[in-house]
Symmetry: C2
Subunit: 195 residues, 2 copies
């Protein structure tokens, strides 16, 4: 079953996922060092995820299954990981290091709008809706990351629906937190133009 | 398994769900006419959901299962359905009629920020994070609605994990669309204070 098509038309169909095998690097990340399948880094990833509230209910077995679907990359300092305005359908989990999130403002000037460190997520909006990246993310130091594509997530939903529910709930809570934060920031601008 | 606790601590635990039985009215909706379990209105709900892109991949059987977990209410014109600042952990699907979404602005004045008609969703942020309602929703005409609580959703995740995947994806796409819309609206205000 194609779950993405189940809920929104026009999205790319999932491709078969090769478990426990290193996949080809994602083209949008071909400028980074491809470290291979995340399963090789299970112990390190387990430690990072264990420290995160969002992952509280994930068992060691869940982490292991998730790692079978993710790939890892290393980004040198000052390297872009995602670029505003480009296509992309993957989410990034920062494992070590950190990135600046940079958004072009109304005067076409780049503004640093956030700094994200280990355990932070990048790019979940484009994973969900397949639209362009809203901001750029640039490594501020040597940074290792795990990547989950939409095809990987489709594979998890097909093969492990209960783990799929946990991951979707995690993403839902992450996006809802960002929505609540952004709507709270918007309060001073609320007016009749919203109707 | 408690999926909500799986992904975020401090949330209410699910209660057993009584299938195919009319549940007690939700206290926050006790001022509305309680129409009973949604299964009674399966045909009407099937027609509404069938017209929605978000529900594209849901089968008639999925609709029937979902209806076993929802309750229906009727709101007379000018009746509040959710109230800004109050607690609530349910999402509303408008079946007939319509509501105004009203938010208090920075000067404590109520502003109509949206109008939502049949097929529209209300209250998904509080369903996910259990926090206060961000805005009020008031019926502008006689309005029938279906309600899904967090306990209902927990029951679906436990008993029908693949249907749970579809519902969570639907909510994820809904919240992501709202986030992309709100961040696009915020662009003129982006500045160094975001760091």
């Amino acid at each position: 079953m194609d779950y993405w098509h189940a809920c929104a038309s026009g999205l790319r169909l999932g491709q078969p996922v090769l478990l426990n095998m290193t996949q080809a690097p994602i083209p949008a990340l071909s400028h980074l060092q491809h470290l291979g399948g995340a399963f090789t880094y299970l112990e390190e990833i387990h430690q990072v995820l264990n420290a995160l509230t969002l992952f509280e209910g994930f068992s060691a077995s869940d982490h292991a299954t998730l790692c079978e679907y993710m790939e890892c990359y290393a980004a040198p300092s000052r390297t872009p990981i995602v670029t505003e305005g480009t296509e992309g359908d993957f989410v990034v989990i920062i494992l070590t290091g950190g990135v600046n999130v940079i958004k072009t403002d109304a005067h076409a000037a780049p503004k640093v709008v956030a700094h994200v460190g280990p355990g932070g997520f990048l790019g979940e909006m484009s994973l969900v809706d397949g639209q362009q990246r809203f901001a750029s993310c640039i490594a501020t130091q040597p940074t290792d990351l795990a990547v989950l594509t939409r095809d990987d997530l489709t594979g998890i939903l097909d093969d492990h629906p209960q783990l799929g529910n946990k991951i979707l709930l995690l993403l839902l809570q992450l996006v809802t937190k960002r929505l609540r934060d952004s709507t709270t920031r918007m309060l001073p601008t609320i007016g009749a133009q919203w109707v």
